[in-house]
Amino acid sequence: MLKLHLEFYKKLYLIRKAEEKIREHYSEDEMKTPMHMSMGEEAIVVGVLEAVGKQAQAFGTYRSHALYLAKTGESDMFFAEMYGKATGPAKGKGGSMHLALPDAGVVMTSAVVSTTIPVAVGAALANAYKKNGNIVVSFFGDGAINEGVFWESLNFACLKKLPILFVCEDNDFAIHSRLKDRLGHKPITKVVSQFYCHTDEASTTDVYEIYEITRNMLAKMKKSGMPGFLHLKYYRYLEHVGVNEDFDAGYRARKELLPWLEKDPVKVQRDRLIREGMKESVVLAVEKKIDQQLEKSIREAQKAPFLKKEELMQDVYA
């Protein structure tokens, strides 16, 4: 069990540190891509992805640093994409909002709210068609719940009993607009539960708890063949887009953040490791190794070449 907890921690730490590195370097203006930071949501992505397993295919949003890093574990290509370099997974054509590495199971992310949801459902349709046993996870925010295509996609997945897990990462904000100002219906999970699928909800920053919730959900899905829907709350630490806090903007107060910082997902998991008997020196060594990995990734990304101009015209048609 301690081994699993350490694995969780490594991923949480990798994500957090990678984003801290972005914050450190962003003002140098070499990463010319709009950053939608994951800070605060790490436990959801890491817990869910561990539960669904390596084979699972994931689809996400423009806020997918955590998704990419948790799923791939690599940071060389990640930073290359941030720096717009030819060594990135999309050769710099995608940047932060379109991070993906299909072979590693991060199939697609997109910059328009809710747009990967039906694509994830189609991927699940193909998996069911091929009977390959693969599961698809579709990550999206609470803003996507307002989009018609979310309900269309949910309806179709339930109708066809597709092997897909929908994960609503609810940070209460669609850019700067709160959920209560956007919902003309009963709570999200209550409405979704009217569909032929399994639903569950939680508000926790404990990665293990999320892992367990997801495993229970998967067991139910396997038994019934119906899709699953998880509604998981978190708090967005930083501004909607950008690397800074925005508590001075007036739409939310810093005091909202404080209780979440106390149960910060990275801290919670680190405390657990120590509590369960792992020596701090071991944890520090793990952290140091990840720090070095990130330093190297950034150095290499900075040195890597850009695509040639002619390559603008490539990859339009197959």
Binding site: P102, T115, P118, G122, L125, A126, L159, Q314
Partner: protein, 347 residues
């Protein structure tokens, strides 16, 4: 073996043969499985139901995304829309997702998705059941746009579209469904991006899309008989990729170009051809390019205005007369719109 098949039968045969050949091909869309079978064009696919042949909820946007997801996961979906107008509900998925899937993945993903849509005039179909929109689709990089104008091309181009690894719009004019043509029984492909010389002529070039080929052919036949004018008709067959060389070659030969497009004129495909011809054939042109297309208004239901909206063989004849400074052709006794007589309400 060549047999006579209608356009609709040719499409159905292409689908069936491709589904038999390749287990990854499936056909879906609103009402594809009902008793009408999309004007008969999905007849004979019943044996593939429900797994590979199924109707869908009324969720165009999600269903387009589903096609993309299935395509990037190794399948070859054919998504059918009984009206191109309904497909507009799926424009977000089409433009933001389908068109960019390959580019956005740095060339890793491919989206072999075929989107069939019925276009064009019917019978009092007004402004939300009659559009064509090839210009709009062709405007978007990442999507191929195909417009077969006869049964032979329909089968060969559809098979090519299904086997192509890029997303392809396949636009079918409803009046063409009953047109018969000689079609080989075995599967065959026609390359996307290769125009067809419909009729050889030395005096004037008409570039015609979709149904306008039928009108252009009629016009050419009358002009030859009554004016001794030999019209050359080029059917691009695919709007994108466009066989520019074939168009340029013909206009360089004749020195006159009429574009008869089945879409709005303003910012339309006809403008694209006019620009191409003026760039590549400038010194050889004996007259400015003439465009025949939809006026910048909407199709009306009432018949006199519907007739005014759609150009036809007569509009083409009049345009050619003007360009070649001919006396007006006597059109008494000529029959036009021969296919409309088969097209009664409500469709």
């Amino acid at each position: 073996m060549l047999r006579s098949l209608t356009y609709e039968q040719a499409i159905a045969e292409a689908l069936r043969q491709e589904m038999e050949r390749d287990a990854s091909v499936f056909v879906y869309g609103l009402d594809v499985t009902d008793h009408k079978k999309i004007f008969g064009s999905t007849k004979g696919l019943e044996k593939f139901a429900p797994k590979r042949f199924f109707g869908t909820p009324l969720s165009e946007d999600a269903m387009m995304g589903v096609g993309l997801g299935a395509a990037i996961n190794g399948l070859r979906p054919v998504h059918v829309h009984i009206r191109v107008d309904f497909l507009l509900l799926a424009m977000n998925q089409l433009v933001n997702m389908v068109a960019t899937a390959r580019f956005g993945s740095g060339g890793v993903l491919k989206a072999p998705l075929v989107i069939r849509a019925v276009i064009g005039r019917g019978w009092g179909q007004a402004f939300q059941h009659s559009k064509s929109l090839q210009s709009m689709f062709a405007h978007i990089p990442g999507i191929k746009v195909v417009m077969p104008s006869n049964a032979y091309d329909a089968k060969g181009l559809l098979i090519s579209a299904i086997r192509d690894d890029s997303p392809t719009m396949f636009l079918e004019h409803r009046w063409l469904y009953w047109m018969e043509g000689k079609v080989p029984a075995e599967p065959y492909t026609i390359p996307l991006g290769k125009a067809r010389l419909v009729r050889r002529g030395k005096d004037i070039t008409i570039v015609a899309t979709s149904w306008m080929n039928v009108e252009a052919y009629k016009a050419a036949e009358i002009l030859a008989r009554k004016q001794g004018v030999e019209v050359e008709i080029i059917d691009p067959r695919t709007i994108y990729p466009l066989d520019k060389a074939a168009l340029v070659r013909s206009v360089n030969k004749t020195g006159h170009c009429v574009v008869a497009d089945y879409d709005w004129e303003f910012c339309g495909f006809s403008a694209e051809v006019a620009a191409l011809v003026s760039e590549k054939c400038f010194g050889r042109l004996k007259s400015p390019v003439t465009r025949i297309a939809f006026p910048h208004t909407h199709c009306a239901t009432t018949r006199p205005l519907e007739n005014a909206f759609y150009p036809n063989a007569v509009s083409i004849i009049r345009a050619v007369e003007k360009k070649l400074q001919l006396k007006p052709t006597d059109l008494s006794g000529e029959e036009f719109y021969s296919w409309e007589n088969r097209f009664k309400g409500p469709f």
